[in-house]
């Protein structure tokens, strides 16, 4: 029990002292996961709209693939991305392995199917004739897409929350493609794992608290926006 209290005390001390190395890791985590979420949102809306709006052979297969992707094990993603980016791999010449960019790519592969799945489900839940109605009102394709996404913005905010949650909380892929290099590719999850492997529970608890607070704050902001929209 003392271990936990010590850990919490240490967490408060680190947070209050403004330890640079801890805040640097926190900022890097937000940057890497935030970038991955933003790219996932773009890809997810694009692919989700295509699947939701178009009838084509293999549409059910596409839905199944997206749904499978929503449960992709991060370690498997890490392995695939590591093979692709490895020096001798197909994309090795770009020298991205063990860089934050590689971590962004891996987290995007994890978050994009989540956002795609949420987007497709949200768009399928809209009135089936809404697109015809908007075209009937004189909307261009782009105007139609914008209005439809605006109508589905509440579930899309849920997609952002789920995508960001999936990206910032994964560890296997970041460890594999980032390498947990201090001052370069170390993020919250990989730092916590390192501290635990060293037997240093107090800093691990401190980092966990910061990670939880971070996820809570992001979700609080998005939920507040969502609730305000719902009320209006």
């Amino acid at each position: 029990m003392d271990l936990i209290w010590d850990g919490l005390g240490e967490a408060i001390r680190i947070i209050r002292s403004g330890d640079f190395s801890v805040w640097e890791i926190a900022v890097r985590s937000i940057f890497v996961s935030g970038t991955a979420t933003a790219i996932s949102l773009f890809l997810g809306i694009l692919i989700g709209s295509l699947i939701a709006f178009n009838q084509f052979p293999g549409r059910n297969l596409a839905f199944s693939l997206v749904n499978t992707g929503m449960g992709l094990p991060p370690v498997v993603v890490g392995l695939i991305v590591a093979i692709m980016l490895w020096r001798s791999g197909p994309l090795g010449e770009f020298r991205l392995i063990y860089t934050p960019t590689a971590m962004v790519i891996a987290q995007t592969v994890i978050a994009a199917p989540i956002v795609t799945g949420f987007t497709a489900a949200a768009l399928r839940n809209l009135h089936p004739k809404l697109r015809s109605q908007l075209y009937g009102l004189g909307a261009s394709r782009l105007q139609m897409l914008w209005l439809v996404l605006w109508e589905a913005k509440l579930p899309l905010l849920a997609a952002v929350m789920a995508g960001f949650g999936g990206a910032i909380s994964e560890i296997g892929a970041s460890q594999m493609v980032g390498g947990n290099l201090a001052g370069d590719t170390r993020v919250m999850t990989t730092a916590i794992m390192l501290e635990v492997s060293r037997g240093e529970f107090a800093p691990a608890i401190a980092l966990s608290v910061i990670l939880l607070v971070l996820i809570f704050v992001v979700n609080l902001i998005l939920t507040t926006v969502q609730q305000q929209e719902r009320r209006s």
Partner: protein
């Protein structure tokens, strides 16, 4: 001779193996109200969506002002407006919804507000302007739907069973308001329905669509006096001739046609 605003030539619409619409020729004349009447599953909505350029025909051509429609659908679509059975208003205020068609066309904000207010007043919903569209009743939402379509000042207005989800009193009120708006604007209109009263009240001409094929075409009086299919013959024979006789009266007597039809419906009930 009145010019055809919209025409179909040898149009077929297929979905899978079934043929939904097969119309060798259809002309919608400038300024007329053409009612397309038919039972459920007759292909009315598919035909309307083809005319509205929302659906490409499998074969045949759509002509706008006697010129074949090519790749400029957006420009042409913006000369029309479509009203569906359900209002499908957006998650915005009523006034924003009514102004949406104009906004999509790039109409300046001040003009948008002015026209939206005019049509909201015409359809009796101006007092709800700032209300969220999602809180409106079915009748209010359908009034908003009509106001939204009229506000873009379309050259062709298409209505797909706009009253079928409404209760009878609301339907009667809206039918009266719509009839007045159509008279005032003189807009070319295609009105899809399965209701004879609506067809008699609004239609200059009536096309009976069954199984995707136009089985009969003529004035409302002609069609209902000698319907090609028994299901369009009212249960009392005298009502057919009465309604038909009323519909033959000059345009100014349309109101009495309507009264007569409602009266006969009340008697039947």
């Amino acid at each position: 001779m009145t010019q055809a605003k919209l025409s179909l030539r040898d149009v077929r619409v297929r979905r899978g193996r079934s043929e939904l619409v097969n119309v060798p020729q259809l002309d919608v004349l400038e300024g007329e109200v053409l009612v397309i009447i038919g039972p459920n599953g007759a292909g009315k909505s598919v035909l309307l969506e083809t005319l509205a350029l929302l659906q490409e025909p499998t074969a045949g051509r759509v002509l706008f002002e006697e010129r074949p429609v090519d790749g400029r659908q957006l420009t042409l679509r913006r000369r029309m407006a479509v009203v569906f059975q359900e209002a499908m208003l957006l998650r915005r205020s009523l006034v924003e919804n009514v102004g949406m068609g104009m906004r999509l066309r790039g109409v300046p904000r001040s003009l948008r507000r002015e026209r939206a207010r005019h049509w909201m007043e015409r359809f009796g919903i101006a007092h709800l302007a700032q209300r969220s569209a999602l809180t409106l009743s079915g009748g209010e939402a359908q009034r908003a739907n009509l106001a939204r379509a009229f506000a873009v000042e379309p050259e062709v207005l298409m209505l797909d069973e706009p009253f079928s989800a409404l209760d009878q009193p609301t339907r009667d009120d809206l039918l009266e308001d719509l009839s007045a708006a159509l008279r005032e604007t003189g807009v070319t209109t295609i009105f899809v329905t399965h209701d004879r009263t609506e067809a008699l009240r609004l239609g200059d001409r009536v096309a009976v669509l069954m199984g995707g094929v136009i089985r009969q075409m003529g004035t409302a009086a002609e069609v209902f006096a000698a319907p090609v299919d028994g299901r369009w013959r009212p249960s009392w024979g005298w009502r057919t001739s009465w309604a038909g006789g009323c519909a033959r009266w000059p345009t100014g007597w349309r109101r009495w046609t309507w009264v007569a039809c409602r009266w006969s419906r009340w008697l039947r009930a």
